[in-house]
Amino acid sequence: MKKYIVNRILSVIPVLIIVSIVVFSLLHLTPGDPAIAILGEDATQEAIDELRERMGLNDPIPVQYLNWLNDIFHGDFGTSTASSGEAVTSMIASHFIPTLQLAIYSTIVTVLLAVPLGMLAARKRGTVVDHGVTVLALCGISLPSFLFGLGMMMLFAVKLRWVPVSGYKAMSAGLGAHFRTMIIPAVSLGFMHSAFMMRMTRASMLEVLNSDYIKMAKSKGVKELWLVAKHALRNSLVTLVTVIGQGFIGALSGATIVESMFGIPGMGSLVVNSIGRRDFQVIQAVVLLIAVINVVMNLVIDILYGIVDPRIRLS
């Protein structure tokens, strides 16, 4: 097991190198001079040239790339040109928390929505409940996320005024306030992902329910409820672990739309704004971080896979 983990971690390095090259070259191909984007059109030419010099934009791209790489090795991700020259690392830290919270809450919503409904659809296969769940899942997949988010915002924030329209309150600003700002984005994001997971749960549950060991358990006199909760769920958990894991990674790195719509200062909206401001240091650091998270999370899922399914543990 140890060797398995070690070489999985080592496989991160080539991926990171490729990600850094892709992002770095992409950004530096973007037209639009960062200096002008920051200083505006009224600035003097000298001020613009001085900023370009300070940001090292004048040396050739490969040199800039290497400087950036060895900065990273010394743990210095550079300073953002936005706000009062805040170090990129502290900026990302402050933006990572809302994204993490949103990812956790939305995954909880996804699981609470998808697993019971998926199991119900499998149990009541072929009935109206089954078709209902399938249609619900398909609507979830087909509806663009911002449309759904917009609808939720209009209903809950504007019409019913249960929650504030936008803005994010950190945990420190009181649990109530925090959840009030996070509940609708989490539900919007959660519902989108639960659509996909619902179908996966139903499929894996069907496969399990028709298996021989369920027939055996039934012939042992196991009650209906236990059949599903203990025997069936444990087995479909094996496939669910991967799906929930992927959902979490998706929420972590892909909530840009929900974040920018509900004004949650997460990493998604940070990158979108930084692209507008040509704040390269921030974009590069965030994308690298997301890549690392992706790879690590995939590793965690595989390890979880082993824990849940004894057959895998041995290999």
Partner: protein
């Protein structure tokens, strides 16, 4: 009467006849299975309707989608404008109809390009170790960058135009198809009949294209329909974040993002493009499901 093989059947003709009925029966079963699945039939109908709308857009649309008339800004749905008008007086109904053409074009080309590219990358990645490592690491690299952020950056580099949206979305969705093609190609390679071909001394490329490719075509086609559906949503999301198709082109995505700004005063600007987008994507998903059950039962 038993012939030499002691096969209980009477004669060659009967054997031939049974084989024919078997094949017919099997195709019959497949057709029935697909038709039985009412959902995928519904999906197919929706997709066909959209294609018809896209092809005959000029005759269906009531107005010229590009003609602006600022005096008629934001009129509600009426006899004259079935779906109302947008902020600069363009007829929403005609734009939705022409939008079908744009969105389907985006979907088809992104789906097509990513399927073809993905197939090629997947196939060649499955041939030798070194190539596999390089290609797959690149795919992993691209896949670990969030799709939307990669698309936005690409759009900023290339500038707002329809072909750039297609290029960006194709680059974003190809790695997924490539990975899937590679894994199914690896499975097919291990099959005995491929082994047999290798023993018969078939050339490498012949095996690849004559034997392996057709067999992984099924999952790739299924993946293509889903890439098609997600391309339409991605185009809408891009326009929503202001990095999509220029607002002159009547694509559903740009209409939705324009509609968002006036959601209070003009509900129809969001309702109709939204409905069409969701319906098309729903149709594609249903059709994709049906296709997958039919072509590729083992993966569902």
């Amino acid at each position: 009467m038993t012939n030499d093989m002691n096969i209980p059947f009477e004669s060659k003709e009967e054997l031939e006849e049974i084989r024919k009925t078997l094949v017919k029966e099997q195709r019959e079963l497949k057709r029935k299975k697909f038709l039985k699945n009412k959902m995928s039939v519904a999906g197919l109908c929706i997709v066909i309707i959209m294609i018809i709308i896209a092809i005959f857009a000029p005759s269906i649309a009531t107005h010229d989608p590009y003609e602006t008339n600022v005096m008629e800004s934001l009129l509600p749905p009426s006899a004259q404008h079935w779906f109302g008008t947008d902020k600069i007086g363009r007829d929403v109904f005609s734009r939705v109809i022409y939008g079908a053409r744009i969105s389907l074009f985006v979907g088809v080309s992104v789906g097509g390009i990513s399927a073809v590219l993905g197939l090629i990358i997947g196939l060649y990645a499955s041939t030798n170790k070194v190539l596999d490592n390089i290609l797959m690491r690149c795919c992993d690299g691209l896949r670990s960058i969030p799709n939307l952020l990669l698309a936005i950056t690409l759009m900023t580099v290339l500038g707002a135009a329809l072909k750039n949206v297609i290029i960006s979305l194709a680059i974003v969705s190809t790695p997924g198809v490539a990975r899937m093609a590679r894994s199914s190609a690896l499975v097919v390679r291990e099959q005995t009949y491929v082994e047999a071909m290798r023993c018969l001394g078939a050339k490498k490329s012949r095996i690849l294209w004559k034997h392996i490719a057709p067999n992984i075509l099924a999952p790739v086609i299924v993946q293509m329909t889903f890439a098609f559906a997600s391309a339409i949503i991605a185009e809408a999301s891009l326009s929503f974040l202001g990095a999509g198709v220029p607002s002159g082109t009547p694509s559903w995505g740009s209409m939705l993002s324009e509609g968002k700004a006036v959601i209070y005063s003009a509900w129809w600007m969001i309702a109709f493009p939204g409905a069409f987008t969701a319906l098309t994507v729903l149709g594609l998903n249903l059709f994709g499901d049906g296709l997958r059950d039919l072509l590729d039962p083992l993966t569902n």
